[in-house]
Symmetry: C2
Subunit: 138 residues, 2 copies
DNA sequence: CAGAAATGTAACGGATATCATTACAGTTCG
DNA sequence: CGAACTGTAATGATATCCGTTACATTTCTG
């Protein structure tokens, strides 16, 4: 993966869990050290997934949509929809080459397995766990 | 679709295993459907890792440096040194924010776990297994 | 030895992805 | 109404990746 949206998203949600109240995109941007628009773009995905609730207008902002114990990193991962862990070439095969003709399917299986391995890892981590680490670190 | 070097590398090595003789970069490029220079760049890393042996000069080319059963996809993965599965933000923390101050370490742990999950998956797959799939597919 | 055929490698350009930023319309509270 | 938010489009800067050209170097072979 190349982009930082997943990291940003986890940071945002951890901050919201820690604050336990609404924060606006400027506050979140300050914590993440980026631009408020970048935050709002990520919040769109998180909102679609029901992980946050956002309020427009004055005194608007965002708060968690579920309890930290109910939010797994996998849910966040899916919400930001990062690109696959392993990219599979989708080029046209060289018909006269048996290897070439079968590589897409074979690598597809390898990539799917890698993806599932990551997902299993993320499934086991909740926002609450991260929150505890923050608190323990003080 | 991002970095296809790993896919390309697996394809190259599978082709070499299937052919069981030296192939030049043009033949490999035809199978992978790319440019010979792209192939040669990837071969550099594979050679450094001892996965292939290359010969310069007329009738030169590349052949496997180990038996297919001794080459795991993890070795290939390390040889091409792709970027981390999960990118961790390396921005300066906002000192007044406890979450911000701890995110790098926390996400570092998450990313390391994801990386290891992928590695464990790749460790269990050898070139020989892929080769058998090619042969079985016919 | 000369020439053909291959690799090694640098250099450049185009395509694409990502993020930052500006801008502004829409929404909501007071 | 006006201030303070979000939603979102548009643009630009930057980095990465890949393809391509170019050429030096190496090696085989006649």
């Amino acid at each position: 993966m190349v982009n930082q949206q997943f990291t940003f998203a986890v940071h945002i949600l951890t901050a919201l869990a820690f604050a336990n109240e609404t924060m606006d995109s400027q506050e979140l941007a300050t914590s993440v050290n980026t631009n408020p628009v970048v935050i709002r773009r990520i919040l769109l995905g998180l909102r679609r997934a029901g992980l946050v609730e956002t309020y427009t207008g004055k005194n608007g902002g965002t708060r968690l949509g579920k309890k930290p114990a109910e939010i797994s990193l996998l849910a966040i991962y899916d919400a930001v929809a990062p690109r696959p862990v392993i990219a599979v070439s989708e080029r046209k095969a060289f018909k006269r080459c048996q290897v070439s003709c079968n590589m897409r399917e074979i690598m597809g299986g390898v990539a799917a397995g890698a993806e599932e391995a990551v997902r299993a890892h993320l499934r086991g981590i909740t926002l609450q766990k991260l929150l505890r680490k923050v608190r323990r670190a003080g």
